[in-house]
């Protein structure tokens, strides 16, 4: 498969207690398992990212389970409340067990 590229957009600095939005995008085909190979008529096996999680300084703040109905190149937007400066760690996991990771720094003032 082509190289998977993950992108994250989150603010660099926020005020303590503020709720900020985080947007993520990852390149993935999200093969639903229902498509057929036009030449052979066989089903193309399912290969999707089935889980996503965001940890804020090691603590999980948001997670999501995905089914085949999630579009290719899945986009995910959610919110986090600013507590302390630190890192946001993002993790995607697909059907083959492969993990894709990305992290972002955040400064809380």
């Amino acid at each position: 498969m082509a190289k998977v590229k993950a992108r994250v957009k989150s603010p660099k600095s926020v005020k303590k207690g503020e709720v900020f939005q985080v947007k993520t995008l990852i390149s993935h085909k999200m093969e639903s398992g229902r498509r057929k190979n036009k030449k052979t008529g066989e089903n193309i096996p399912r290969m999707i990212i089935n889980s996503f999680a965001c940890n804020y300084n090691g603590k999980e703040v948001f997670a999501s389970d995905w089914h085949p109905a999630v579009s290719a190149n899945p986009y995910m937007a959610f919110h986090v409340r600013a507590v302390d400066s630190g890192t946001l760690d993002f993790m995607w996991k697909d059907d083959s067990g492969k993990e894709y990771k990305k992290s972002a720094k955040i400064a809380v003032t």
Partner: protein, 159 residues
């Protein structure tokens, strides 16, 4: 006068043919809602599994969806639940379901009080015009629901 001539030119065989075609379309239309019902039933079963038999209350949940989705492959979906997101009162999970898809489950969003806002957005595939349902499970076990219809011009199930 003209009408009478036309009437007389229609043979008995033509009338039978016409009646037959009529019966066929009647059969097709009676079958189609039946098929849609099957998918809706699957979705209803999934809702039951999520809520554990509880009947969800309508309200509190807002679904942000386009009225008409031209491309069923990427339909933006946003969901927002009115909640203060404190340790005592927060939204635990939101399930997104599409009752006309071969598999009704779309995504599950798992929140924590640290999320600050029970609001999330993603993009999904819709096979045809159907209802999108959001079921929100609160920290105290109560369940809320919202339902919106989306018209899909081109379905997103490959082919």
């Amino acid at each position: 006068m003209v009408q009478r001539i036309e009437m007389s030119s229609v043979s008995r065989r033509d009338i039978l043919k016409f009646a037959g075609a009529g019966a066929c379309t009647a059969l097709a239309t009676s079958l189609l809602p039946g098929l849609a019902m099957a998918d809706a039933k699957l979705a209803a079963e999934s809702i039951k599994k999520i809520t554990g038999g509880k009947t969800p209350t309508m309200g509190k949940v807002t679904l942000e969806l386009p009225q008409i989705a031209e491309n069923g492959n990427t339909v933006p979906v946003g969901v927002d639940v009115d909640s203060p997101m404190t340790d005592a009162d927060y939204v635990k999970t939101i399930h997104i379901l599409a009752d006309g898809n071969p598999l009704p489950e779309v995504a599950v969003f798992k929140f924590s009080p640290a999320s600050g806002k029970a609001k999330a957005a993603t993009r999904m595939r819709l096979a045809k015009t159907q209802n999108v349902i959001a079921v929100a499970e609160m920290g105290d076990g109560s369940v809320f629901m919202a339902k919106t219809e989306v018209k899909v011009t081109i379905g997103g199930c490959g082919g």
